[in-house]
Subunit: 202 residues, 4 copies
Amino acid sequence: MSQVADSKGSRARTATAKRQRLTAAAARVVHQQGVERTTIADIARAADVPVGNVYYYFKTKDDLVAAALSEHAHGLQTLTTRLDRLPDPRQRLKGLVAAWVGERELAARYGCPTGTLASELGKRDEGGLAEEAGKVIRLLLDWAGHQFRQLGLPDPDGLALTLVSAYQGMSLLANALREPGVMTREGRRLTDWLDSLPDPRD
Amino acid sequence: MSQVADSKGSRARTATAKRQRLTAAAARVVHQQGVERTTIADIARAADVPVGNVYYYFKTKDDLVAAALSEHAHGLQTLTTRLDRLPDPRQRLKGLVAAWVGERELAARYGCPTGTLASELGKRDEGGLAEEAGKVIRLLLDWAGHQFRQLGLPDPDGLALTLVSAYQGMSLLANALREPGVMTREGRRLTDWLDSLPDPRD
Amino acid sequence: MSQVADSKGSRARTATAKRQRLTAAAARVVHQQGVERTTIADIARAADVPVGNVYYYFKTKDDLVAAALSEHAHGLQTLTTRLDRLPDPRQRLKGLVAAWVGERELAARYGCPTGTLASELGKRDEGGLAEEAGKVIRLLLDWAGHQFRQLGLPDPDGLALTLVSAYQGMSLLANALREPGVMTREGRRLTDWLDSLPDPRD
Amino acid sequence: MSQVADSKGSRARTATAKRQRLTAAAARVVHQQGVERTTIADIARAADVPVGNVYYYFKTKDDLVAAALSEHAHGLQTLTTRLDRLPDPRQRLKGLVAAWVGERELAARYGCPTGTLASELGKRDEGGLAEEAGKVIRLLLDWAGHQFRQLGLPDPDGLALTLVSAYQGMSLLANALREPGVMTREGRRLTDWLDSLPDPRD
DNA sequence: TATGAATGAGCATTCATTCAT
DNA sequence: CATGAATGAATGCTCATTCAT
């Protein structure tokens, strides 16, 4: 009986695992090649799944892109959840910046996953994927805004906008110039800026 | 004979005009649709040039994209040349920011022309177009760096990086959120920042 | 033991029921969508049977189409059996025409089930399904010929051909023009014709 | 100069000829294989045109089917135009029947081109092709109705309906039974019927 | 040079059929 | 028998690029 359970479980696990593999592969490959230059076959190969089988899990290519987007959203939430364990909002924000700088090589090669995706999808008229990308970025804005608010600073959402905007800008420049150093330098500037903000709670 | 000369001249002029029309159309359409979603036919139509004729002016699609890039570079130089007439470097930099904010509607709809192009081309492995996009951005960096240097500020190139990075970031966010207001808000912040910088020459 | 028997019986009954559901669904869906536009999944869904299970009852899609054909043949036999209870052959034939007219809405929307099936299958080179469709139509021809023969009319098979041909023609036109009225009008004409035939037995 | 004219004319003629070849091939192949079983490649091969080139002349497969339909409409008009030269409406109608019987081999193999097309397209919900097929059949109805009207007979449109309906029915049966003889027999019956109609003009 | 037409490789998607459990 | 999942061959369609005139 446990054998049957295992068997069924394994099947379910396999199916779920495959969907997850496809999602992860889509996130990765789309980040590296862009939406339009990525073929379903590329993703299938990266996930080690037969092409025809992809459509069992995702009805269209856009569905796969949407999955890639939520994969990035998920990664973002994993990060913020970890940062939330830090006691101080300022530390959390600085931790966020540190995480960005930690990804500098990837950013210099392919840009910010969410930002470049939003940039490419933003040129579309239909499909709703552009809105979806906007939502993921808003997730980050909201979290950062929450931290600034906890710090008791005025205009916390504006500060969040400045922070995330800086991140997108430095990622784009690092990528355009192929210089990870941009991330380091601007990251340091952001950290200094965060340190310089007063803590009205004192 | 003068007729022949006229004819040739007119033809040459026509040819140049056609090339220019194609270049301008490429810059515009690619900005709106992205490189991959833009077909040669799209550009030909926008330039009112027969499809088969495009290849007399541009050997490949990439050549057209390169032309779009230099069109943007040219637009940038037109802008900086105009700003250069202002007597004060700080005024010039604030004029640059004002120009960015002036384009907020376009930025909210399609992002920064150069930035989104660099973002899309950055995912390529070959062709050299990514480098080309980097060069256009460097043009902007260099000009801004020059202004900061004239102001006598330390690390002028770093300041330029921060400024351009902020521009790219705010354009991307304005685009992702479809909110021109982002440009206004961040533009004001940049202006304040520029005003806050000391002028060591005093 | 009775439990086992019940179980088997129930299972067998279930299996038969499933087969029947699939057959009925195939007949219905294929009539509505045509053979080529109907997928196995369409039929499985209409029969509320899991896709993978279909192949335990029908080896191929063509087998399902054959089943749809015999379902129509069965419906035809149910009809003629009922008509056979009428005492007079002429009444039976007029009853047949009345039945056709009674289905005018369906005919105007999807044509005659057997006729449209024969039409579509008639374009095939192989598989024998075209012949199968011919047989179903021959069933109708034979029954009608039998009635005309009982009426003692000369060339009963020719009369049957005329009658069935008229039915196929009016169904096709009703369908092509999307006008159920064609069935009514031509049905009345056929009834008048049947009434006008002499009864040599008098 | 005539050379230039010829040259241009030849190009135009070639292009037009290719479109015509594709249209004719579509009409033929679709008649033989049905819409759904016919691939663009089939038609391209039959017309001796590279597959990719088909789309220069027809945007979609449905456009090709529409072209096949109008090809049949054109053939029908050629026929009726020829028949119109006959002095007597009754002769014209009998000529129509004779033409149908003359095509008995084709009808027995593939059915009536327009009828089978209408039958297959009638199962569609969208695209408007079903309506288009209906129009072609209506062309025939109108012409026949006109003849009956000229004969001074009551309910000429009803008579036309009966005539065309008979044609569709006999074509379908000849096809389903694979018996050209059906066309001959029913054709004779129709001719007799036409002869039996009174001529109120006498 | 100018231009409509030609070409063929590539891509997203569908679907009948089979497999593993 | 039951079932979700797997498989791969087709198919319609697009598009950069080339050709013929």
